[in-house]
């Protein structure tokens, strides 16, 4: 094959889903090429058709889907014309795919080595000793330590990151020319994501393999892609090389995506949002698909579809780039500042709203007939947190570090094993069930998944009214209804929502309903448990704006549990970094993010993909995964993964040290100013 010839060439691909009479035009006239050894990122929000594109290429569409038109040239053949048995040879051989969920992509009852061997046997025809050796090489290539032992292990014995590597190893077994990666790192933590992305980059260089990377994450695109294709409503709207794209995104939609990303620089100002919702793909479009949501739209945008406008390395599908119209582009991206709440203190006041001391949640591990306790999972193991009134504390950490358990134990949804939780001067841990029930209006929670946080069998009005009823606020039905309407208006939903069911709303709207439900009882503290991580960037911006506005209006405090550093840098006042059940670093958000002192914080921050290549720092690669909280390592919990660990770290858990006024860290390397009473183990 000629090097200059694209390895995959897709032209005018259209895929429909659902009924023939009223199809969903999930992919509508898509054209792009991928060259050898190149990474093309297909970027878009959920529902824009990027996964359906990948499945169309692999011809793995669900039963209701079908390719309507177009050609997919892969090497010398048209994939859409191959018979199913020929296609099976292409799949896994010439081109392979890895999926978002490594947990469900592997067969749980077959050892991973066998699963890789099966791929080898099918595509390379290797089996027996030669095949076994090849498997070990592959496991080594995807940097799985001790491949000989891992060969015989089952998927459940591996962590998420390891499983994704095994998936990559299976994909590599067929020695593909093209790897389609559908959100390969979305389910993984940032440090693990950094490992997997680096692995993919290295493998690509070694094997001259092309990658079609499907993602919604601009950061991942910035790290990985050579070229970027932005998808919106079943079409590619912009196609450009990485540098020009990140320097100057051309399409209004791409620009909006960047503008809605939360960053440190945008603090105290509202984020840009894209108005309206993604259009239904049932419809046929007369004009530009983005016109209804575009701030720059003019009359012509609604009338006929735009044509491709080519400018050197970049192509954009937009009317604004037609002759002599470029001047009309508005570059102004400033937004209104968020009015600061009058009661919002610049610094935490002396008596904080919430204070936890040595908070512990241990789950007993039971064994045997008589349920003898044989050990404890130390999910939360001595956490001290302080939140001032009207302020936001971000609790960050990787999955499994216990941050959600901290949130739930503060709310007493999980009763703490030991320690104290004082909210507004009241100790919550000792309260009886009924005493606690009366105090529950003071603290509320917003969950991550907007789909499971509401009873699907209740009307939205009843959902919001639930807390009002429980606390007896609102004597009559009319009063209650008025209160509910007020709450819904406050979160930006119309009053007629009350008679609808939750499933009739989009994810972002549901999250608003959750916020309205929490606010209805006038809480002083809201625990936000990853409230935006299930949402698209543009919707995330709306929710973050709403949370900020509500804080300014009613002075509520947030405990913001998240793993997303850019959200933290935008919304938080203080930050607490958690590792294996303990806080390792605590301080004002600016200090911690700019000058992290704990090696774990440093690694966490370095692993976050940066948009701007200039600010990119070298990734501090952490080895291995988070240890189990049932048997934490001796000494400093972080020492097995710490690049700077010393002998001391192996023996003693570090004391809490003060870096400056409000910045604390638990690390032996920072040991200048120990605080009396802060010493722990």
């Amino acid at each position: 094959m000629n090097d200059s010839q694209p390895i995959l060439s897709v032209s005018e691909l259209s895929t429909h889903l659902g009924s023939g009479s009223r199809p969903i035009r999930a992919v509508d006239g898509l054209s792009f090429d991928i060259n050898k050894g190149e990474t093309l990122a297909l970027l878009g929000e959920s529902g824009c058709g990027k996964s359906i594109t990948a499945l169309s290429l692999m011809r793995l569409l669900p039963a209701s889907g079908r390719v309507i038109s177009g050609t997919v040239r892969f090497g010398s053949c048209d994939l859409l014309k191959l018979s199913e048995s020929e296609m099976r040879r292409v799949r896994g051989g010439g081109m392979t795919m890895i999926f978002q969920e490594p947990m469900t992509s592997l067969n749980p009852v077959i050892p991973i080595g066998e699963q890789i061997l099966e791929a080898l046997r099918l595509h390379v025809g290797e089996a027996g000793a030669a095949g076994r050796k090849h498997v070990l090489d592959l496991l080594d290539a995807v940097r799985i330590p001790d491949p000989g032992k891992r060969f015989h292990e089952y998927p459940h014995q591996l962590s998420g990151g390891m499983k994704q590597r095994v998936m990559i190893a299976i994909a590599l077994a067929g020695e593909p020319n093209l790897l389609i990666a559908d959100e390969p790192t979305t389910a993984l933590d940032v440090t693990i994501q950094a490992q997997v992305l680096e692995l993919m980059r290295n493998l690509q260089q070694q094997r001259q393999m092309a990658i079609l990377l499907i993602t919604h994450d601009l950061g991942v695109v910035a790290e990985m892609a050579d070229r970027v294709a932005v998808m919106y409503a079943g079409q590619i709207v912009e196609l450009a090389a990485r540098e020009p794209f990140f320097a100057h995104p051309s399409h209004p939609y791409s620009r909006k995506l960047f503008a809605s990303l939360p960053t440190m620089a945008k603090r105290k100002r509202a984020l840009h949002v894209i108005k309206g919702l993604v259009p239904s793909l049932h419809a046929r479009f007369s004009g530009c698909r983005f016109a209804a949501r575009c701030d720059d739209a003019v009359a012509v945008c609604h009338e006929y579809p735009p044509a491709w406008h080519t400018d050197g390395e970049r192509q954009v599908l937009c009317h604004l780039y037609e002759h002599g119209r470029e001047a009309e582009r508005r570059e102004d991206t400033s937004t209104a500042p968020i009015p600061s709440h009058t009661a919002r203190p610049a610094k935490p006041v002396r008596e904080p709203l919430l204070q936890t001391r040595a908070l512990q949640v241990h789950f007993p591990i039971e064994a045997g007939v008589f349920k003898r306790t044989v050990g404890y999972v130390r999910a939360v193991d001595g956490v001290d947190l302080t939140i001032g009134a009207g302020r936001t504390l971000a609790l960050v950490g990787e999955s499994g570090c216990g941050k959600t358990t901290v949130g739930k134990s503060i709310l007493q949804l999980i009763r703490p094993t030991a320690g104290s939780v004082r909210l507004d001067g009241v100790e919550l841990t000792g309260l009886s069930h009924s005493q606690l029930r009366r105090r529950r209006s003071d603290f509320q929670i917003i969950f991550q998944d907007p789909y499971s946080s509401m009873n699907p069998r209740m009307l939205v009005g009843d959902v919001v009214a639930e807390g009002i009823k429980a606390f007896g606020a609102g004597e009559t039905r009319e009063q209650r209804r008025a209160l509910v309407n007020k709450q819904l208006l406050q979160v930006g939903l119309s009053a007629d929502s009350v008679t609808r069911y939750p499933h009739e709303f989009s994810g972002g709207q549901r999250q608003r309903i959750s916020i309205a439900r929490a606010l209805a009882v006038a809480p002083k503290l809201i625990v936000c448990d990853e409230p935006t991580s299930a949402l698209d960037v543009s919707v995330q911006a709306q929710i973050l704006n709403l949370l900020q506005r509500l804080q300014a209006e009613v002075g509520v405090s947030y405990l913001f549990i998240t793993h997303n550093m850019s959200v933290v840098s935008y919304i938080a006042d203080e930050i607490a970094v958690m590792y294996l059940g303990r806080i390792v670093e605590f301080g004002p958000v600016g200090d911690v993010l700019r000058r992290p002192r704990h090696p774990y914080t440093e690694a966490l921050l370095s692993a976050v993909p940066a948009l701007d290549p200039k600010t990119r720092r070298g990734v501090i690669r952490l080895h291995g995964d988070i240890p189990s909280p049932s048997s934490p390592p001796s000494g400093c919990h972080f020492h097995p993964r710490c690049p700077k660990s010393a002998e001391l770290c192996r023996q003693h858990y570090p004391r809490r040290s003060r870096v400056d006024d409000q910045h604390y860290v638990n690390c032996h390397l920072v040991d200048d100013e120990p605080i009396p009473g802060g010493a722990r183990r």
């Binding site: 209701s64 029930r437 529950r440 069998r457 209740m458 009823k469 429980a470």
Partner: protein
């Protein structure tokens, strides 16, 4: 004079509950949507028509009264018969009263056994005597019978089709008025099966059933269409009477079991801890005892009680009814465990969902959480189990009566019919019609119930819900 049996009262209660639930579901979209899904399934709607036929007969058979005797000379004082009848009995009076001497085959004109008859000239001869009622209107059954059966059957079928046509026209007109469309458009849509509710399959099933019932009604006036049993009772009448028994067992048992299963299952799942342990031990223990043993013991105890207190019951029917009720109770007590187990598992899952946590965080009382958040979200399991259990219970009755620990021998039931037919299976020539009749009716009821419950499960089980 109206007579109320225990099971009658419970049946009325059950009907009231169904009506209340239907009214409740009408206003709630999440309950209406799956039912609409059921309405779209042709098989389910056809089965529903069959089930409705059975239920109608069962309900007619559940209104009991003592008929007034011919008034005596003393005016003002009305005497009531000792015998208790149901509305259904009253409707099919000829069927009930025309008993032959002993066995006769379906559509027979003569008895199944030879008897010595005295001829006109005084000689005695062994022959199959003519029946008292069956084919009495024919002079020479051997030549006339087939033609008569066909003629009667056909004329009845024509009547059935006519009545069906009339009902169709009325239904279409009513639908057209309700939806403000023309008669014609509703008709064509119905014919092409494009309606939201599958009227077409309902009407086709209805046509078949109407033709069969008209033919059966007309023919059974002249013949014993399913023969007669040992004491000469019409088998067709017996099977129809057995419908009520089957339905009572299938539904009242559920009524008994539901409170146990729901309360204990949800409590075990939601509260966990020692409550869960106690309930789990309770149902694992109970489900380890062989069910038949438990039922046999309970029924024998009841039998002893009934025999010792015979004077407390004014009629055999009342005694039999009490035994039926008791059987329902026992079956209910032994069969709640599986539903309880399902509900416990589902509640365990629900307890950790965000919306229940949110409700706890909002300070909602635990009892309110159970009734408002947990119970409505496990209802689909209850519904599916109830409908699936129904057919199993109908069959269980047959088996239990067969081993003589089921309903009272005096009560008509398919199990009793099978049991009494058992002895005649070895006879030559074989007496097959009791068994056949019981099998036919039981089979069509259980098949319809199973088909309906399949559609119901498809519509209600969220895991089986197809992407649209």
């Amino acid at each position: 004079m109206l007579v109320l049996f225990w099971t009658d009262v419970l049946i009325y209660l059950l009907v009231a509950m169904v009506v209340v639930f239907a009214l409740y579901a009408r206003r709630r979209e999440h309950l209406r949507a799956p039912w609409r899904e059921v309405g779209r399934s042709g098989v389910a709607m056809g089965s529903l028509v069959v089930l409705a036929f059975y239920v109608t007969i069962g309900l007619l058979d559940s209104i009991h009264f003592r008929p007034a005797l011919q008034p005596d000379e003393e005016a003002g004082k009305r005497e009531y018969a000792h015998e208790i009848l149901s509305v259904f009995d009253w409707l099919v009076t000829p069927l009930r009263e025309r008993t032959e001497k002993t066995y006769s085959a379906p559509f027979a004109a003569n008895l199944y056994t030879k008897e010595t008859v005295e001829l006109a000239d005084g000689r005695q001869r062994r022959q199959f005597p003519r029946l008292k009622y069956g084919a009495r209107h024919l002079d020479d059954p051997a030549t006339e019978k087939t033609a008569d059966i066909v003629a009667t059957g056909l004329s009845a079928a024509v009547k059935g089709v006519a009545v069906w046509g009339l009902i169709c026209v009325m239904l279409i007109a009513a639908l057209a008025r309700k939806k403000q469309q023309t008669f014609r458009s509703v008709f064509t849509r119905m014919l092409s099966g494009a309606t939201a509710v599958r009227w077409r399959s309902m009407l086709y099933t209805f046509a078949v059933l109407l033709v069969i019932s008209f033919a059966a009604a007309d023919l059974s006036m002249e013949y014993h269409i399913l023969g007669t049993d040992k004491v000469g009772e019409d088998v067709f009448y017996q099977t129809l009477k057995s419908i009520r028994t089957g339905l009572v067992i299938g539904t009242l048992t559920t009524l008994v079991m539901l409170p146990f299963a729901m309360l204990l299952g949800i409590m075990a799942g939601y509260f966990g801890g020692w409550i869960d342990d106690v309930i789990q031990y309770l149902y694992t223990t109970l489900s380890s005892i062989p069910g038949v043993l438990l039922i046999a013991a309970a029924v024998l105890i009841l039998q002893v009680y009934l025999d010792n207190h015979a004077d407390r019951f004014s009629s055999i029917a009342e005694r039999a009814d009490l035994r039926l009720l008791f059987l329902c109770l026992i079956l209910g007590v032994t069969s709640w465990t599986s539903l309880c187990r399902y509900l416990r598992g589902e509640t365990l899952k629900l307890r950790d969902t965000d919306y229940i946590q949110a409700a706890t965080a909002l300070g909602v009382r635990q009892f309110t959480i159970l009734t408002r958040h947990v119970a409505p979200n496990v209802m689909h399991i209850v519904l599916i189990t109830v409908v699936l259990d129904f057919s199993a219970l109908v069959l269980a009755e047959a088996v239990l009566s067969y081993v003589q620990i089921g309903v009272d021998p005096a009560m008509n039931s398919w199990g009793n019919m099978i049991n009494s037919a058992r002895l005649e299976m070895a006879r030559e020539p074989i007496v097959w019609w009791s068994l056949f009749a019981a099998f036919l009716f039981m089979f069509s009821l259980v098949l319809a119930a199973n088909l309906f419950s399949d559609a119901l499960r498809d519509a209600f089980d969220p895991r089986l819900r197809r992407e649209k």
